[in-house]
């Protein structure tokens, strides 16, 4: 009897342990790959790019994507509306990115970010992207007869981040920036060309006053140096009447803030490894003088980009470099004595760049 009762108890426990939460079969789920959030005509519009096992267009056998849209007063209502319309439950744990339309990130910035934060399935590391147009259009942008998969957009954005052409932004970093003393953040800026091709246009700086400003991709590279986000950059530089093609890889990046003569000073120590890939338009004698001269040209270029980006960021009063948190920690007296705007305006950038020519590509050797 005792064994029988123990057996029954074990069975009840085993069966009840699997029933703590409602189970949803995979075919009853909408596996969301990308989310687009817009604000149009006084309501939110959510566009979901969902994985579909059925092939579409020329992507035969590889699966495809479906688009679902819903509009509502708040984002939770939009999501519920998609669930109701499709009869399936959403799964956001596999979502590759969230594209935010400019209108949704204006006055409604806070509720949008609050919704993204409250959803437990969205990782803190989920990439956030920005567009001046409609996020829905980007998720519907065609490629090979079907929508560009979110995975592909994510890969393209990652490549641009590594090349220093747009910022690296996730839910974590955007909240850190917006809830930090600077109340600003930088997001990759996406755009559609006239023939509906998706392009990475640079960076969108979210400003403390709920506005934003766009920075072109080529103007962002200096900021990528400052943030330590650049992995490698290719340059084509004019040198001795010819053209020099080099690849630059940062190997050391130290950014610190301090006070100098009552003003904030941002100091960057940067060490760059430089591989000369090619020189066209003449012959070079590769000796120590030549390498030093090439290093000086590269240093000048980097210096120019740094100052240009810093000037732009300063002009827009967007603390996307994290100057104010640094001032708060390292120079608290100066931080407390002045407003954030004053500190950003008065800040000066001092750089110490060391370029090390590490290799000569086959093209450069031929020219030697």
């Amino acid at each position: 009897m005792k064994k029988f009762l123990s057996g029954v108890l074990c069975l009840i426990l085993i069966l009840s342990c699997t029933g703590c939460m409602p189970s949803v079969q995979i075919d009853r789920r909408l596996l969301v790959q990308g989310i687009g959030i817009d604000w149009t005509e006084g309501e939110y519009q959510v566009t979901l790019q969902v994985f579909s096992p059925a092939a579409k267009g020329e992507t035969e056998g590889a699966g495809s994507t479906d688009i679902h849209t819903a509009a509502g007063e708040n984002l939770a209502e939009c999501m519920q509306s998609v669930c109701r319309d499709t009869g399936r439950s959403l799964f956001l744990g596999n979502c590759r990115m969230v594209i935010l339309g400019a209108n949704a990130m204006g006055e409604n910035r806070e509720p949008v970010l609050d919704y993204l934060l409250s959803n437990h399935e969205l990782r803190p590391g989920i990439p956030l992207l920005f567009t001046e147009g409609q996020a829905a259009d980007l998720l519907k942008a065609p490629m090979d007869g079907a929508e560009v998969p979110a995975m592909r957009i994510h890969e393209v954005v990652s490549a641009h981040i590594h090349a220093g052409l747009c910022p690296d932004a996730t839910l974590l970093t955007v909240i850190q920036g917006i809830d930090g003393p600077g109340a600003s953040a930088a997001l990759p800026l996406l755009d559609l060309t006239e023939d509906d091709m998706l392009v990475i246009a640079g960076a969108a700086l979210l400003l403390p006053d709920s506005g934003y400003t766009a920075v072109a991709a080529e103007d962002w590279r200096g900021a990528a140096y400052l943030l330590g986000q650049l992995e490698s950059a290719d340059y084509t530089l004019g040198y001795k009447g010819g053209t020099l093609r080099v690849t630059v890889t940062p190997v050391l990046h130290l950014l610190s803030a301090q006070e100098e003569n009552g003003r904030p000073l941002l100091q960057l120590q940067l060490r760059l490894n430089c591989a000369v890939q090619e020189f066209t338009g003449g012959r070079l004698d590769w000796n120590s003088t030549e390498t030093a001269a090439v290093a000086a040209v590269v240093e000048r270029q980097a210096q120019q980009e740094l100052q240009q980006s810093f000037g732009l960021i300063q002009a827009h009063q967007a603390d996307v470099l994290g100057l104010l948190p640094q001032m708060k920690k390292f120079t608290p007296k100066l931080y407390q004595a002045h407003s954030g705007a004053w500190l950003l305006e008065q800040a000066e950038l001092k750089t110490e760049i060391q370029v090390n020519i590490t290799s000569l590509g086959s093209g450069a050797r031929a020219a030697a």
Binding site: C20, M21, P22, P124, G125, I175, D179, P325, K329
Partner: protein, 364 residues
């Protein structure tokens, strides 16, 4: 023939006991929430450090008081003071232990049903944990403390892996030393942490069952848990920055953000460890509850008492998890000084009674 296993004194190993104290104390780490910048980072670290040191001092003082009265554990001390006094003390201790066990289950099921499995039945979870913990209590303290050793090791490996996954996001700028203006917050968190700590009582109840039972074991367990607290809060503060203040469970968020090339999210791995920690903490408290009941009713069998405690615990846990207001009511009571005052009161009264009795005997 008595089929009960006889109570063998000094049968918990030193390492097991240290791991047990560590697991019980580390439980609240996962639900740590700094609320705002004023309570975050270095303020929490300083407050928890001071609370840990204070608890070690309290444990040492209390333990020497027990030894001064010639007792090896708190129950032994108050049992000597007569039946009525002992029953009153047992009831007070029972209240503190029950509150601790229920708050463990409440925190666990609340956390799981809010973050890991939203929409899951918190009541079912609470009941399942209580039943499992009651079985743990029936298995005995040695089994629970032996389990605490591998769980501690796996927890440390899990946290180290999470640290490796989040190291790229670390920014020391977010760690700011608390100034004089942070003193009220430090004090508030200090008392909160000290009052939450019922492990001193747990240790004093179990001290006669620990081989070489001395406050050193509690001190090691507490110091070790304190170090892990400091390390984890440091990591959360520097990796999440202001993000930590907008999350209900920032440590869980950090684990979700930590990514290694082969493991995309580390929160699920860590969840398994936390389930075991909940089990150990709850089982340890239920074991002491069973001990209390059996001291008041010595004729009741261990198995029956464990089952009864499991059923009552599951019912109480399910009831409290059934509505947020019920759970919060217990939590608000538990966040105050009541359990601490009750536990300290039992000990001090017992010591006073013992000393008075000894003096009276000397006079006679």
């Amino acid at each position: 023939m008595n089929r009960e296993t006889p109570i063998v004194k000094n049968h918990i190993g030193t390492l097991g006991a240290t791991a047990l104290v560590f697991c019980c104390r580390i439980f609240y780490l996962l639900t740590y929430s700094p609320k705002s910048e004023e309570y975050g980072g270095s303020v929490s670290m300083l407050a928890f450090f001071l609370a840990g040191v204070a608890s070690i001092l309290l444990c040492t003082v209390f333990w020497f008081m027990l030894r001064r009265c010639g007792a090896h554990s708190l129950p032994e001390l108050y049992q000597r003071q007569g039946r009525v006094f002992a029953t009153l003390c047992e009831l007070a201790v029972l209240g503190v232990l029950s509150g601790s066990a229920l708050s463990t289950v409440l925190n666990f099921s609340g956390f799981m049903s809010s973050t890991v499995y939203p929409g899951a039945g918190a009541q079912v979870m609470a009941a399942a944990v209580m039943f499992a913990a009651a079985y743990g209590a029936y298995s005995g303290m040695e089994a629970i403390s032996r389990l605490a050793i591998p769980v501690t090791l796996v927890l440390l490996i899990g946290l180290a892996t999470a640290a490796a996954g989040i190291v790229g996001s670390i920014n020391p700028v977010y760690l700011i030393a608390p100034g004089p203006e942070g003193v009220p917050q430090v004090l508030e968190l200090f008392f909160q942490a000290l009052f939450h700590n019922t492990e001193v009582l747990l240790f004093l109840i179990l001290s006669d069952k620990i081989r070489e039972g001395s406050p050193k074991i509690y001190a090691w367990g507490a110091a070790f848990s304190m170090s892990v607290y400091q390390f984890t809060i440091l990591l959360v503060t520097m990796a999440l920055g202001p993000f930590a203040y907008v999350r209900s469970y920032p440590i869980y968020s950090m684990l979700a953000a930590a990514e290694l090339s082969v493991l995309t999210r580390l929160d699920m791995i860590n969840m398994v460890i936390w389930i075991f920690i909940t089990y150990i903490r709850c089982a340890a408290y239920l074991y002491c509850i069973c001990g209390c009941i059996r001291r008041m009713a010595p004729s009741w069998q261990r198995g029956h008492v464990s089952l009864g405690v499991g059923v009552l615990g599951a019912l109480a846990g399910s009831y409290l998890c059934g509505g947020l207001n019920r759970g919060l009511a217990l939590w608000e009571l538990w966040s105050g000084a009541a359990p601490f005052v009750l536990a300290a009161g039992v000990l001090l009264l017992s010591v006073c009674a013992a000393l008075l009795r000894a003096r009276r005997r000397e006079k006679e």
